[in-house]
């Protein structure tokens, strides 16, 4: 079929592709914005506290964030399919508890115990996904139920006491080498997860489908793509990553605490949202989420160093979250209005 006899209606379509691809609506604008916020925070805290700008601070921050970072990557995918997982804190605790059980009671090797913990996390995630998909219940409610049930299971497994495993799990928390100044294996792992997550979202079919489901699930179905296995996979991956975070924390504390991760789901979601992922689904970025994690971590470390009280820490962190979302929303609307 040749186009020669079709009217060439190109008169009103000048090549404005450059304008369409304007900087402000590209992901780089988001990254720049987040980076500037991060920079502002670092500068602020460095000025207010002489101890902030130091290797020790940054190493501490780097070793604080791996758990939050890997969970935030998983949560990015969950939010992008317009879902939510409130049970991540409980899964974190359960995975640590299960690994402690395996090491202390069954004399398993740390490696096996770790795998078991990951398996348990995967299972919890699959449960989340399957229940919400099969009975078409909003993931908010399903994960809310699991939040309670899994937490209870963690208590059961640890007999409601913190289980000390010593340095059996130390592997993850160990500094990899002194030349890197004490940054742990866990941090490197977290970076790897971030990079893999980004590649998965932007370069694979799976990532494409995740974006499609979050944008228009009915159109996906009518295009011949079954959204259900993808939804379940996303939740399963979330569970797996929450379990990984649990192991990372157990390694650092050298103990499995049944109260671990209480309330952390809100921090995780906050990090993802600061990064610009929409709660409505279809829009998000793993790299931006990582910036969100950094912002929260720097904020917390900085506030602690300048001696802010607990209540004011929470108020300020909450305010930062809301402001970040407002800025991002305004920017999105601005770029949409120019089309």
């Amino acid at each position: 079929m040749s186009t020669s006899n079709l009217p060439q209606n190109t008169a009103a379509t000048p090549d404005l592709s450059k304008q369409q691809r304007s900087f402000w609506s590209s992901p780089w604008a988001t990254y720049l914005g987040l980076f500037l916020v991060l920079l502002a925070l670092v500068v602020f805290f460095s000025l207010r506290s002489e101890y902030f700008w130091s290797k020790d601070t940054f190493v501490t921050i780097a070793n604080d964030i791996p758990g939050l970072a890997v969970m935030a990557v998983g949560m990015t995918f969950v939010l992008m399919i317009a879902g939510i997982d409130l049970s991540v804190g409980s899964v974190l605790a359960l995975s640590a508890a299960v690994s402690a059980l395996a090491i202390l009671q069954w004399q398993w090797s740390p490696m096996l115990a770790g795998l078991l913990a990951l398996g348990v996390g995967l299972l919890c995630g699959m449960l989340n996904g399957a229940i919400s998909v099969i009975w078409q219940i909003p993931s908010f409610i399903v994960s809310l139920g699991l939040l309670e049930a899994v937490r209870g299971t963690a208590y059961l497994v640890t007999d409601s006491r913190t289980q000390y495993v010593g340095d059996a799990m130390g592997g993850l928390a160990q500094p990899i080498s002194s030349s890197l100044g004490g940054i742990s294996v866990a941090f490197i792992m977290a970076l790897a997860v971030v990079v893999l997550g980004h590649i998965l979202l932007t370069r694979t079919i799976f990532g494409r489908y995740v974006i499609g489901i979050g944008t228009n699930e009915e159109a996906m179905r009518l295009a011949g793509i079954d959204p259900r296995p993808i939804r379940i996979s996303v939740f399963a991956a979330m569970g797996l990553l929450a379990a990984l975070a649990g192991l990372m924390q157990a390694a650092r504390l050298e103990a499995a605490d049944p109260n671990a991760g209480v309330g952390i789901e809100l921090k995780v979601i906050a990090a993802v949202v600061i990064g610009g992922t929409s709660l409505m689904g279809g829009r998000g970025s793993v790299i931006a989420t990582f910036f969100g994690v950094l912002i929260i971590a720097v904020l917390e470390a900085g506030l602690a160093q300048i001696g802010a009280s607990e209540p004011s820490k929470r108020i300020i962190t909450g305010a930062v979250i809301v402001v970040a979302v407002i800025i991002d929303t305004v920017r999105q609307r601005r770029s949409a209005a120019t089309h």
Binding site: P7, L16, T204, L222, D226
Partner: protein, 518 residues
């Protein structure tokens, strides 16, 4: 065409002797640097019906939106009854008596018809709703539109789309109405409902209301418009009294060149049976429908809104579950028998069936995503290797279809939500054409599509038929069906009541069959 506003060459009939109610002076509008409207000037008189027509993307919706306050003009000014008119919001415009009925209806589906009609002034005593008064007032308003059989306490969500549109129009018939803008009002109305609408328009005219009627349906404009304005690429290229204007001239003005008449299709040789449907049923929408479609044939399905055509196509595609029936697909190697349901649309697609849905925005497209993403969704096999998407191949795929279907856009990365209706539909077509389906089901493929894009789509349909594909086309445009199809079936109230072969049909006959079982 010169860029200055066009003065009417000859004096008009009575309408223009009335006072000017709305005046547009050198209006223009640009989004970022992109001009969408340039130097539009015209006058609208009391009791005049001004038709605005033009291809999609010509600027008709933009003009309407500026007049009704949805968006501000970038340049130029308007005056209402001699006073400067610059509505900040839609409510602002409504308060001044300028209202618009949008294509995307503004009704609230979870509330009743009565509540929607009187939204904003629900009869109440200190906040408690006065249901009796509500019912009365609503019934009166419905009567004006000839909708007295509609129960005002029906939930809007339970109404068919045609009825919803009528309610939306009824909602705008307020006493202070000075200017009413109707945007493609008959797109989803049956001929009977359209007649009611035209009666309403005539009554409003008599009351001195000025009406702006935006539409593609040229034969309708000839019936009700006093004046016609043609927009092309954001400029006003013609403004003249409707009397005596031929459709061909209008089309020529709209497209900037002459478009071949809707050619009557020569009889096509068709092959063996591609798909056979037996006793397809899904109560209450589809009842015992049976027919067969041949390779190389374009099989049309006509019928009134609500006759079950869309529901039928969805059953054939596996988008909905049938109660009973059988689908037989005759592929070269084997015959597939499905009783009565495909397990999912994927199964139907794998058997070679494709469906272009009736509502592209909610069911066919991913509006925020790019053209390239939309075409590749569902065709990921073509652009990927071992799970990884190749952006290069995706781009190439998109460019191929942008060229083949003449999709007007800035590039493959443009988000589909910003394309005009016709171009959006082309993107949907591209996705299915890439799949190379053996059997393509089209549900209102040219709804909301301008003349130029329509011609392109018909060319594609003919092309596919020539290649031996089987095409089932549901449409409310009888002339379109008569021009493109080899056979036309008519559905009424869920049943297939008649099938006509080329050469044996008339518009009259088709309409009669569509009204058959009431």
């Amino acid at each position: 065409m010169s860029s200055s506003s066009l003065e009417l060459a000859t004096p008009l009939h009575t309408a223009s002797s009335q006072a000017v109610v709305l005046q547009l002076n050198h209006l223009s509008k640009a989004y970022a640097q992109t001009p969408v409207l340039e130097d539009i000037s015209l006058s609208l008189h009391r009791g005049e019906v001004l038709a605005i027509t033009g291809e999609n993307g010509a600027g008709k919706s933009t003009v309407s939106k500026i007049i009704c306050g949805l968006t501000p003009a970038s340049n130029g000014h308007m005056s209402l009854n001699g006073q400067a008119y610059r509505p900040i919001t839609r409510r602002d415009a409504e308060a001044q008596g300028v209202r618009m009925v949008l294509q995307e209806l503004g009704l609230i589906p979870t509330l009743t018809v009565a509540e929607n009609l009187l939204m904003g002034h629900l009869p109440n005593t200190l906040g408690w709703m006065n249901r009796h008064q509500l019912h009365q007032a609503a019934s009166q308003q419905l009567k004006k539109m000839g909708l007295e059989q509609l129960d005002p306490d029906t939930l809007v969500a339970d109404l068919g789309i045609g009825q919803q549109q009528m309610v939306e129009i009824a909602r705008n018939l307020q006493d202070d109405l000075q200017v009413l803008i109707l945007d493609e009002p008959t797109a989803m109305l049956t001929p009977r409902e359209s007649t009611h609408l035209f009666k309403q328009i005539a009554e409003l005219k008599a009351k001195g209301v000025a009406i702006i009627y935006v539409s593609h349906r040229l034969e309708e404009l000839q019936k009700i418009a006093d004046t016609v304005a043609v927009l092309r690429d954001g400029r006003l290229v013609d403004l003249r009294p409707m009397a005596g204007v031929q459709e061909k001239e209008l089309v020529q003005r709209m497209v900037g060149h002459s478009v071949a008449d809707l050619q009557e299709q020569a009889a096509r040789p068709s092959g063996g049976i591609a798909m056979q449907i037996t006793d397809m049923t899904r109560a209450p929408a589809v009842k015992n429908v049976s027919f067969e479609v041949h390779h190389g044939e374009v099989f049309g399905i006509a019928g009134l809104v609500g006759s079950g055509r869309t529901e039928l196509l969805r059953l054939l595609f596996g988008a909905d579950k049938a109660d009973s029936g059988e689908i037989q697909i005759h592929a070269p190697e084997r015959t597939l028998k499905i009783t009565p349901n495909w397990p999912s649309p994927l199964a139907a697609i794998q058997a070679g069936i494709g469906l272009v849905t009736e509502d592209r925005k909610s069911q066919g497209l991913f509006l925020p995503l790019s053209i390239a993403n939309n075409i590749s969704m569902g065709n990921t096999v073509r652009i990927s290797a071992s799970g990884f998407v190749s952006k290069v191949r995706e781009q190439a795929l998109a460019l191929k279809w942008i060229q083949l279907l003449a999709i007007r856009c800035f590039g493959a990365g443009q988000s589909v939500g910003t394309l005009s209706g016709g171009n959006q539909q082309k993107v949907v077509f591209a996705r299915w054409l890439e799949k190379d389906c053996d059997i393509l089901l089209l549900d209102e493929p040219t709804r909301g599509v301008d003349v130029g894009a329509r011609a392109d789509l018909y060319a594609q349909i003919n092309n596919m038929a020539a290649k031996g594909k089987a095409i089932v086309m549901v449409s409310s445009d009888l002339r379109e069906l008569m021009a493109v199809c080899d056979r036309i079936a008519v559905m009424s109230a869920g049943r297939l009541v008649a099938t006509f072969k080329r050469g044996h049909w008339t518009e009259q006959g088709l309409l009669e069959a569509a009204f058959a079982q009431e």
